[in-house]
Amino acid sequence: MSEKNVVASRLYGPLSGVLVDPRAKWTAIVAILVLMAVAPMIFGQYATVILTNALLYVVLALGLNVVVGYAGLLDLGYAAFFAVGAYTVGILTLDFGLNFWLALPFAMVAAAIAGVIIGGPTLRLRSDYLAIVTLGFGEIVRFSARNLEITGKASGLSGIEQPWIFGWQIRSATDFYYVFCVLAIIAVVAAARLANSRLGRAWLYVRHDEDAAEAMGIDRVKVKLAAYIIGAIYGSIAGAFFAVNLGAISPESFSFTQSVLILMAVILGGMGKIPGVILGAFIVILGPELLRDLGPLRLLVFAVGLLLIMLFRPSGIWPGRSAAK
């Protein structure tokens, strides 16, 4: 039977085979790590900036994937957590003179609180209502940022200092590229461990059938809140590093479009499965760049491409096991 499963998953998409054989898997991982390490030297400055952005989206998409893919909760306002992380670091370093590394835990705690604020009241809501409430939450955060004195109103915050580490300042585009490489790797490892944890199994059951899970002693409130909090922390870490990378943030960096783009990365690649989500993040960021030669048509072509993917692979390009059925 298990042999049959292996055959089935091999047939299911040419990519899945890599995951089945552990040796092929490790070879692929090592190859990817080597490629990540040498990429800035091969592709040059411009590509390095784009790749950094793609890695930022890998972290964001993996965070949203905890909420959407693992726990099955639709969230259309995920950029809010990204904003909370970025603004917390911006405010604490600019107005309170805190060191970036000291501000980072505050950003995580602030995002976790925001996660509870959005998660608490919406726990009883099902998908479509939840989508509306989370969308509203995202907009509230953005509008607050645009109107509050402390967040610099519409012009945002600028002059955020780039962090120092062991007496060396993270400054150039290449520096940040490597920082985001490390962040993405940590995000992947944490997401993989979460998926296989007890909590990961609780999410799996709640996502499939809340009532059955609750009837078997799984507290759906705790389990869903945990997903929101962990997703929020992912978003805040991405936001914090985003803020110091650019040195300036404004409310428009955290718009609804941003939330949709992150969600698109999650859905496109294959909800719930880490390689799929990574692939989705890269497609969402690199796609429009690779099509740049098409000029004004590029976004149209990109959009049609996305539609075709969804038509022919509704569970994503590289779907998770249960989504594939």
């Binding site: 298990s2 059955a212 078997m216 249960s322």
Partner: protein, 244 residues
């Protein structure tokens, strides 16, 4: 039997329980007792409040008035997951088999709160002994099993959890006649092995053959209650309230 030992025998007691959905009141003061080691049948027409009674006991529906006691402890208003952890396990109507997960994974859901891996393995073995078909199909998608097998899976999952009392909601629903009899046989066997069962069933004759005691609900009230043998003998009751 003195009245005190009789009280100790009652594992589940509902007193004046009222509950409903929004403005619709489904239970208008239900009093009910389940004694240890018994099968108690909960009968009545559609909309009489049978399923709501089970849901109120297991915490899926909140009681607006009255109390639910489990083994002498007031569990009214507790969360469903807490109540399940106490060993009062609800097998809901419609079975709730998790689609896309294998039979084995569905069973593992039942043992989620069991931290001891040996105990989990032992319970899985017991479930497979009781339902050999589940062992043969353990790697198949649970939602692709036949109706009868899904019912076995739903019961098996509850057994994985480690129950003291099972609440079974319409286990025979949608099953072919032979499978209905198989299901009833399994319920009887579980009971003989020590499980206390509160059984909601449309098929009153069958339920009363199995049960020690029966309650008939009507309009959210207990309309009558008696030993199952007495209820069964009264053909007018069966015809008037229970259908065939």
């Amino acid at each position: 039997m003195t009245s005190e030992t009789m009280n100790n025998d009652v594992v589940l007691r509902l007193k004046g329980v009222e509950a409903g959905y929004g403005r619709i009141q489904a239970l208008n003061g239900v009093d009910l007792e389940v004694r240890r080691g018994q099968i108690v049948a909960l009968l009545g027409a559609n909309g009489a409040g049978k399923t709501t009674t089970l849901k109120t006991i297991s915490g899926l529906v909140r009681a607006t008035s009255g109390t639910v006691e489990f083994e002498g402890e007031d569990i009214t208003g507790r969360r469903a997951s807490d109540i399940a952890r106490l060993g009062l396990v609800h097998v809901p109507e419609g079975r709730h088999i998790l689609k896309g997960l294998s039979v084995r994974e569905n069973l593992e859901l039942g043992a989620f709160t069991v931290r001891d891996a040996n105990l989990r393995r032992q319970r899985m073995g017991e479930v497979f002994r009781l339902f050999p078909i589940l062992e043969r199909r353990q790697h198949q998608d649970g939602s692709l099993l036949s109706g009868g097998e899904q019912q076995m899976l739903a019961i098996g999952r509850a057994l994985m959890h480690g129950h003291r009392v099972l609440l079974l909601d319409e286990p025979s629903m949608g099953l072919a006649p032979k499978l209905v009899l198989d299901t009833m046989r399994i319920i009887k066997r579980l009971n003989q092995e020590g499980t206390t069962i509160l059984l909601v069933e449309q098929n009153a004759r069958l339920a009363l053959k199995l049960a020690h005691y029966g309650y008939v609900l009507e309009g959210g009230h207990v309309r009558m209650q008696n030993d199952a043998a007495v209820l069964r003998a009264d053909t007018s009751i069966v015809q008037a309230y229970l259908g065939d």
